[in-house]
Symmetry: C2
Subunit: 138 residues, 2 copies
């Protein structure tokens, strides 16, 4: 399957790797440990555009990503969201939240301007994520 990624998602993220269903991206906002999972498949906009079998995989991948990201980041809470008001391609945010972070206790969505990673910091974060999530570069 050729994986097609919305240009805005591509511009705002770094590729981490591929689970069975979803491509895993790192949001280029160093304020938050923030993954985005994008299920493969054409013209997906809503969770209910997936088949039940795919949804079961999706939530397992989101749970695994969330549990491991929480441990990696030493986070207090994982926030999961599927919004898509701006970017139509179905994508699921998995964000590690720390009490007192730049948006706490509010949502990260709409919480001001992203702080891009420095190049070394991005490479380091991606390497840590690949190890933690057992993924290779897509």
């Amino acid at each position: 399957m050729t994986f097609r990624l919305d240009p805005r998602l591509a511009a705002d993220t770094f590729p981490v790797g591929d689970f069975a269903l979803c491509r895993v991206l790192l949001m280029n906002d160093s304020r938050f440990p923030w993954l985005i999972l994008v299920p493969g498949g054409a013209d997906l906009r809503e969770i209910f555009d997936l088949a039940p079998r795919e949804r079961a995989v999706l939530i397992e991948e989101a749970a695994l990503a969330g549990e491991r990201l929480k441990a990696l980041a030493g986070a207090d809470k994982i926030n999961i969201g599927a919004l898509g008001n701006l970017v139509p391609q179905l994508h699921i945010h998995v964000v590690a939240r720390l009490a007192g972070d730049a948006a706490w206790p509010g949502p990260v969505w709409g919480a001001g301007k992203a702080t891009p990673y420095a190049p070394d910091a991005a490479a380091n974060a991606i390497e840590n994520l690949r190890r933690t999530l057992e993924l290779r570069a897509p």
Copy 2:
């Protein structure tokens, strides 16, 4: 099973009914058609506190609620979120979004003060939701 609901969730919502896993609540904010699904079970905080079998049910219930709420509300997009930064009990928001609504295209979380339903409007909304979701009062 006795269903225990966080007092803040109870105060902010109306009960709609019970799916197999989740209690369905209507958020008392007439600005948005906004459901909250609360899985039964003690001490759940994160999606990954559920068993995989329960997660598969959860995402089916969220998908069903989302698809039907979207049709009922004539919405443009469904937003789904599990945040829990303020209320620890695991709960999943399923919100129908219309282009131009009070928070569009931002998230509903943190989008200002709720506009409570008038009593008649709440009763009417709950009745419509029970019909649409095939639920009875819990």
